[in-house]
Amino acid sequence: MIRITTLFLIALTLHAAPAAGQGFAGLGTEVAGFATPQPAPQFDFPADHGAHPDYRIEWWYLTAVLEDADGTPYGAQWTLFRSALEPSDQQGWSSPQLWMGHAAVTTPSAHYHAERLARGGLGVAGVDAEPFQAYIDEWSMRSARERLPATADSLAALDLSARGDGFSYTLALDANGPLVFHGADGFSVKSAGGQASYYYSQPFYSVSGMLDLPGGEVAVTGQAWLDREYSSQPLSETQLGWDWVSFHLDSGEKLMGFQLRQSDGSVYTSASWITPEGQLTAFEDGQLNMTALETTEVAGRQVPVRWRVELPARGVDVEIAAVNRQSWMPTLFSYWEGPVSISGSHGGRGYLEMTGYGE
């Protein structure tokens, strides 16, 4: 999804004060020379799990909903963003590829986060397709080949680690379902104007591992969702931010949905309904409804922390609530990202990401 994020970054510094109409983090700006996503993509794995330097932005975005033996909920985030200043790749100092890593652990009472920056071409940060490895500094997400049959997709088993002030974690992820492709076979449209990205996910991980927090080590288990997305200009100039959710429903079904908030007050929505077997149905603009029910002050701004999410076509009418309302990522480009509980027509757990509030 749209985890578009952020990073993008770094490009923000280019437009120190993002004029209205440039979208969150300068994501709505026009860029020449980069490849743009085309309909009916043909993915080539494992190569496409790696980096695509011809595209301006790309990410490997993993969120995990976890709990300890007592049932206390936790959330973990591991994200690597790539942002290209130019559509090329080379080794050494002159590489135009910039990398940004975000990691976080959310508990009901605390939110730990860390951020790492690096340039590409130097062996400090990057993504290798085979054997799959995404890394920045000592953080890594790598394919656990030893746990997989030779023919399996390299993302089907991952070892994940990250560390920051006050926290570290090591998690083992094993997928019990296939990759799923959003939009039209992985071509995900982001506005009525046709802006789009390549977008696929692995939403079927079961997770086990350890969180190391100031209070001691915590053994956790749960579910995780990996998003892969790349594009060169995924937002329309009039889109200011987005609200994105991923749900692991108790029924075994998954839901991904987002709404892009536009400067005229309207929204552009998109949703994917995924069966336990991995059948994905895409829902176009207007079919998903997200209604903020309650805001709270986070980092000096009002951010919705309780939502009503409806997808009438699948009988979904749920209320989601933040596990920790202060799940703020005060990073270079700041946003809200944290685990949520789900109740209503369906039960379950999920992740919520919100950008563009009070920027």
């Binding site: 100092w93 062996g123 400090v124 000592e138």
Partner: protein
Amino acid sequence: MTTTALIALLSHWRRKPGQLATLIIGLGLATALWTSVQAINAEARASYDEASATLGGGSVLVLTARDGRIPLSRWALLRRDGWAASPIIEGEYAIDGARFLLRGVEPLSGLGNGTAIPEDQAIGLAFLTAPGVLLAAPETAELLRAAPESARSSLPPVRVSAAVPRGEIITDIAVAARLLERGDTVDRILVDTRERTGRTPLTELVPALERNTGSANGEVAQLTGSFHLNLTAFGFLSFAVGLFIVYAAIGLAFEQRRATLRTLRALGTPVSSIIAALIIEALALALLAGAIGVILGYVVASALLPGVAATLRGLYGASVAGELAIRPQWWLSGFAIAVLGALAATALSIRRAATLPLLAAAQPRAWAMASARRFVQQAIAALVLLAVAALIPHFFSGIIAGFAMLAALLFGAALILPPALALALRLIQRLARGPIAEWFLADTRQQLPGLSLALMALMLALATNIGVGTMVSSFRLTFEGWLDQRLAAELYVTTRDETQSAQVHEWLEPRTEAVLPIWSAESEIAGRSGEVFGVVDHATYRDNWPLLIATDTAWDEVAAGNGILVNEQAWRSLGLALGDPVRLGTQPSMTLVGVYTDYGNPNAQAIIGLDALLTRYDSEVSRLRYGLRLPPGDTPALAQALRAEFDLPANGVIDQAQVKAFSMSVFERTFAVTAALNVLTLSVAAFAMFASLATLASMRLPQLAPVWALGLSRASLARLELIRAGVLALMTWLIALPTGLLLAWVLLAVVNVEAFGWRLPIHLFPLDWLILAVLAILAAFIAALLPARALIKRPPREFLQIFAQER
């Protein structure tokens, strides 16, 4: 009731707005002086803290390679292991014949500003993306822009940054790597050793790299100490001056309203109401004046700070922001001194108000006589303080004792001033002939109590001026002479590695008068960690090296490999004497044959013969540096040839004249701040004097009226007023002179030794004292001028009225 009393008290100010203004300005100036010094110190300290926080509290290691080039992969290895590490590429870069130090930094490596990115720059995309940006000081930027187009074409655009030292250029590491053709290597890696858990030890991870522990930070702390000592001393003195002024201002305000208070009491106002009113008034005044002072102090500090920052950076490499942040510690302390001073002064007024004889008329002379008793007590207190000051060095040591001694000395000298003046005036009075002279002296004595606080402030300001001035000038003379001696070689060369070192040595031999190896090894010197240098037997050392004490045959014994010279710091801290054995690490001892001065170095150091060094330390000896002797006119050509012939590191060839000029320019800047503070302190003291005189002038009419009636014209009276101010200033200066010299002595011989381990010789500058005397008298004249003018203009009617009024 309190309200009524307050209104009555305040009504005084409505009638005398001028007095109110003086009071507030005086209090405000004192607060400003204090605040500005505090603000500068606080800013510097905060900058160090920030630097050490970013860098890890003195925990930054600088990794270097023996051959000077670190493969980029080492840095990647460090980061992949989880170390916060930042690479630096550094080298000399010539543009159109001019040479600059080009430093490439990596802003994304997590060490924040520890990577030497100028603090006034937001490192944005422009910095990271081709073509990049060059950051340079305004002067350097000017030079760069003036270069011909052909020389500039390969360069990124230049952006001015006041935070970059002159002659340096800071840019993204990618740009530096290209311009300096570094390929896949960097020159240094900074590592934050704080977050050590879970990381592979550096000794295993990058065993080939040399770890230079803490040198960057520990030394900065030690070295900048001398500068802050200077400022702290000023802060302390300004505090003292400020306290006196606040005290004087409030005390005078009370005196002026003695009659009002008496009336209030006579009308039945309870003492408690009057006291409450006095306190409220004092607090209100303190807050108002404090606010003015804090703002003024901010302005002064902002004006001075860039100079201070440049000095600290140039002199010690310590980075201090050039812009002043508003920090609670200094503005609060500014308010605190205003409020505390005002309350302390009010306490005395309250005591007087409480014991005010209800029906007694104002009796200036009686009051003066009562002060005579006070003078005796004050003199005793002063003598006790001075005795304490004299005794402290015998019983205590350490920097705190040094400051305690300063405090006792200054307060003692200040307290003894009025009694001493009174005594002197009485003695002169015995010699005086003629009624006018006698009246003049007696009247001066009577005014002393009212003026004493202002005079004490003036005395402190003058003493500070003399003391700090002497210290600075002594420091400058010593430092200059020492630089001349110590930097006797015309050119200094640093090579990259031993192979290059040997080649350079061979190449230089036929081209110079002498090649003096500056080879050294790290070693314990009599148990203290330090550095041992080996020298060849050459006239350069015999003629120039600044020895403090030495045997007659010192250099012969060093050359023979038996004798050792140590620096003053080691000598003092170890309590060595000539002829003592000095142990070097685990090696056999050598005989101490001399001690040399080594300003600016916090560590122990020793010099032995070169052969002895090589025999004893062999492979541990760093053999990279040389001093070259050659005719001074040949240095530029040789320097250029050297650079052309060899790939030397940044700053690989340094011209002695360049070092000296740089050091001295930094010095001048350092003391420009001192001079500015000196002038400010003096002006504040002069203002205090003006305030006191102006106040007294209005109260003194009853004393002047009879003299006027006896035939002295208003103009003669005014002239006498001016002379009185001058005489008092002169006498104050006479007492300030020895106080200031003692102050300088304490700073140079006690505090400096305690703080840095070296003692600076005192040099005297009598001409400066005379200039100061003239300034003091001038300041007094200016302070007395307005009151004297007012006296001349005062209508005779008012003089006459004195006789009509029962006061």
